[in-house]
Amino acid sequence: MYGGGNVFEATKFDNLQTEDPAKLAEFEARIARGEKIEPTDWMPELYRKQLIRMIEQHAHSEIIGALPEGTWITRAPGFRRKMAQMAKVQDEVGHAQLLYSAAETLGKSREQMLTDLINGKSKYSNVFNYPAFTWADSNIISWLIDAGAIVNQMANAKGSYGPYSRALERICAEEAFHLKYGHDAVVHMATGTPKQREMIQAALNRWWGPIMTFFGPSDKMSTHTETLMRWKVKMASNDECRQQFLDMYVPKIWELGLTVPDPNLKKNQETGQWEYTEPDWDEFKRVINGDGPCNAERLAVRRTAEERGAWVRRALLNPKAKYVKPLA
């Protein structure tokens, strides 16, 4: 699961004038025709860099995203929830594997990506730096964070890079279960005992802020953004995704009699747009830069898992093996 929290910064490769104009024209024509780009095709450096960055952040978000819900994996109540919670967290790890593989086809090794994650050099979706205090928090994540992720991923699946699209199609198919499972759990809580209702409302209150920042700040439109949209790397603006999410899920929250903790949230019937209190982007920036409630723990867990598994990998390492990028 993943939001649009990735920021498309300009890079030094922004200058397309260094690219071969004939090849660039052919590349752009292919995308304009609706064809996918495959790993061995010629591609501009900007395209490659941005995709690596985006897919890598997405992969990190999956592996770190396994942790907030993993908090409740040993405590899920009843067989139905216990098995589903395990399967859901497992899926997140599986998605990380798929996405790291897609990024690898562009030339960055999984070793390097994991090193960059653990050393804080590359980011992951900011919401996972928030804690899951109760079982109900885990339900809200399963439902609404996954819902947000699906909005984003459905858009990106239509992007131009073949391996990323293939991975996302599989991920979306798997996440259909997450969304329904999360909704089912939230409905049970919201229509259950007073205690359950209180738990789920409290969790919604805690998560609404992070959810609203999930898609990232409004995009600054620049020639850079336009290029990435033309190349079908960026498929929808952060605000478009946020509006779509609100459209699909606020009514479903309200029908359960739950309160969204934003007095200004309403759909403007004239514009068809949702109006809301602007999320706290200063906090967003603070947390993304490391100062969130769980940043340190998330990375420490990942690092410890890697370190404790190192003897296994050392034992099976075949020094004669040659690493070859995955094919697709």
Partner: protein
Amino acid sequence: MNEQAIKDLLYKLADDQLILGHRNSEWTGFGPILEEDIAFSSMAQDKIGHSLAFYTLLQELGEADPDTVAFTRNANQFHNSQLVELPNGEYDFSLIRHFLYDNAEIIRFEMLSQSSYEPIAKVATKLKGEVKYHVLHANTWIKNLGTSTEEAILRLQSSLNEALPYALGMFENSKYEQELMDAGVYGGEEAVKAEWLKRIQAVLEKTELKMPDLESIEPRFRGRYGEHTEHLQPLLDEMAEVFKIDPTAEW
């Protein structure tokens, strides 16, 4: 057939699977490599699924529903072997336990699929293929790591030495052993153990791991009769933490 004997058999099978599945699920997200993380989690889910299938048979025999049975009993009401309740330790211990347990589990499933008690035979026949993968997974890992670095071999050997007394505890006879065998419900623990020894020895022989001298080992029995290590009750408390907020609620 004495229904009590069948229930006793079902409880020990289901409790083993539930507790081991729970333990193995603790690895999800923390595995040594992403792909193994996924595989280990699948097997944990399968184990919980198997326990659910057997608790469902118990319910059909008049016991409480699976959730109540799994989430509200205390440690002294559990019939699992002590092997499965031990903490995960490092990956070497979890792998060795998986190897020792699943090589016994597959023999039980093979036997049970021939059981004269049809409901058990049906469940065992259906789920056998899953256990087959679990065994393939365990044996492949033990063969690979058991022939690798000194570090890995040492780790596995020490985990094997540590786990074996508990593993032998899996084969503790029940009160109804003879009765179950006479009725053709179950082939009995002695038979499982004999076959198990053959199979694990066949795998260990392909590695540099040494089978400790079994004569000198005192098996850790009594789990089948509700006596457990200090690790089981905290595991159960953790598992039921949310469920017990309100056991009558629908979660």
